[in-house]
Amino acid sequence: MIDPNPGARWASREMQDHLRRRHRAERRFRRAGAIAIGLALVGLATLLASIAANGWSAFRTTEIRLDVAFDPALFEGAADAPPGEREAMLAGADYAALVRNALRALFPAVEGHQEVRQLTALVSAGAREQLRDALAADPSLIGATRTFWLTADDEVDLYQKGRISREVAESDRGLSDAQLAWIDALDASGRMRSAFATGFLTSGDSREPERAGIWGAVVGSFLTLVVTLSLVFPLGVSAAVYLEEFARKNRLTDLIEVNINNLAAVPSIVFGLLGLAVFLGFFELPRSAPLVGGLTLALMTLPTVIITGRVAIQAVPPSIREAARGLGASPLQVVLHHVLPLAMPGILTGTIIGMARALGETAPLLMIGMVAFVVDVPHGIRDAATALPVQIFLWADSPERAFVEKTSGAILVLLGFLVAMNGTAIWLRRRFEKRW
């Protein structure tokens, strides 16, 4: 039987309602998705904006221009000393007096021990090192007068950045009224400037915020990651290849697989405790060292790398393996010539994402002592060091107000590294991906 008017069935009121309901559901779902993405983007933008707003000023520092007279009286004997001892004598001279004299020359009215101390407090203690380095580079400075831009104290820096208000009662702020008057005078005479804070990127940690830098933490993180990577990559890839390509599927391998998946979900601090017990307690490796940090993070990252490696290996089409086996390639040749090259983009992506997670990890490093206050930039994997996230944690915990911007600045640096690593992962994937 043929329906005389087939269109009528679809044009009925009931059908039209049904259609409208379907379209409404469709629109609703899309809108919900768009809202979710929008919320996520707003959250991300807020986070980045607040960190950047707080952190950008960490890359700027205030400097004070002083005319420093290298008074020969302060370097007595150094000029005549034999070459071997001269350096030591020059390095041991009273540079604080140089700074003090230069400041007092600008403010001759300042008298009294207390007053002078307040005056010299405008300049960072790091200024002494600036002068010492300048003199070491050019010993002929003795007796001469030179103009230097010396780093200001962190309170002066904060004031110049507008983070200390004059309105606050004198006892509640880090700068006295007298100091504020001197700052104004210096500013008015063009002796204050804001400069790029090279020290923030090149020096190690310090108790004084204006001297504290993240280079020590960057190097510590780098050394830690080198140790982690050199363990995790070969071990993770070998384990993934063995489990996927060689191991028989039986109860034992099932058990191993379940355990690897569980290990990937173990909280990182537990790995820190394990590292503490095994590497420090049993093997007695040096405390606070990138070596131990790297080993501990390797334990933590290994399951992730194995899992992503296995997924990448599974994604290699079986027809390629069959083709190679059918030509008489041995199982090892099949893996080395075909499976691994094809799985490599995925393995590398997984490894880099694992490394990015290791770079951002704090808790396990606290357990093995990489939370120490380390001034020197580490030179090897057995030196005491700290890592970027731990440095952020330490600065966030410091009482000086100037560390607030340092904390945000360090977060910016850490985020920069993470973005760079993830970018590399994407680039590697694009670069080496082959179509089949």
């Binding site: 390629i320 008489g328 390639a329």
Partner: protein, 276 residues
């Protein structure tokens, strides 16, 4: 069509062999009482089949009849399948292929395979063909390798189409070219037997015709066994045919005989298209 083998059989006076007393020089590979189990599934039941020298043997039958399973037994590709178990005896030149003195990698160099779906490596055309000779150490010098690659591609009828772009990836070729590349790759190691598992099932009629011509040309240089769903193809390219049904070898013999005068009712039903 089967006459030459008969002539040879009469002419030969082979000394008695340990594994196969009734050794026949026309037979390249011999399966005797082969059973294959995939777990509990008895996929192939007590099959005995010869693959003859210089001829094309077609294995036909409906889906799931075990023809591909048997083909994969000849170069032990079933070894890697978990749960697969093979019993019975398969001989290559009277030497058992499951024996201790037969290396499975060497067996696969002697018994090459072409798969259902063209599966070139995602590498250059040259490297695809050169891969087998490389891993088996067949070429000492680069010039030897160049020669092998050219000869193999020429035999596979692909040389003229690809000689100017040997460095391009093999999977950039068309489907039919890819399958001919796979044939070139398989014959680059100079196998004695070439197994083809439905080599044309994913190809258009023109590419199929090209491959069939190729198989026809290659006959005489290798013992070829081909699994096919296509009755006409079996009739066109093969000299001997074996018909499988539900894991049993129903009938085998010269292709002409099977197609014109089958002994078994099931064979004639299948060939005339009653089922399949």
């Amino acid at each position: 069509m089967a006459e030459p083998s008969v002539v040879r059989e009469i002419a030969s006076e082979q000394p008695e062999e340990r594994h196969a007393p009734q050794s026949n020089p026309a037979v390249k590979m011999r399966a005797r009482g082969v059973n294959v189990y995939y777990g509990d599934n008895h996929a192939l039941q007590d099959v005995s089949l010869d693959i003859t020298r210089d001829e094309v043997t077609a294995l036909i039958g409906p889906s799931g009849c075990g023809k591909s399973t048997l083909l994969r037994c000849f170069n032990r590709m079933n070894d890697a399948i978990p749960g697969a178990r093979v019993t019975g005896e398969i001989l290559l030149d009277d030497q058992p292929i499951h024996g201790g003195d037969m290396d499975v990698e060497q067996l696969r160099a002697r018994v090459g395979m072409v798969f259902q779906k063209a599966n070139p490596f995602p590498k250059a055309i040259f490297d695809n063909v050169a891969y087998g000779p490389r891993i088996h150490g067949l070429a000492r010098k680069r010039s030897d390798l160049d020669e092998i690659v050219e000869r193999s591609l020429t035999r596979a009828g692909l040389w003229d189409e690809v000689k100017d772009r040997l460095e391009e990836p093999g999977n950039a070729l068309s489907g039919g070219q890819q399958q001919r590349l796979c044939i070139a790759r398989a014959i680059a190691v100079d196998p004695e037997v070439v197994l083809m598992d439905e080599p044309c099932s994913a190809l258009d009629p023109i590419a199929t015709a090209r491959i069939e011509e190729l198989i026809y040309e290659l006959r005489g240089q290798y013992a070829i066994a081909i699994v096919t769903h296509n009755m006409q193809q079996a009739a066109r390219v093969s000299q001997r045919t074996a018909f499988f049904h539900l894991g049993l070898l129903i009938e085998q013999g010269p292709t002409e005989e099977i197609f014109t005068n089958p002994r078994e009712q099931r064979t004639s039903d299948y060939i005339t298209g009653r089922y399949g």
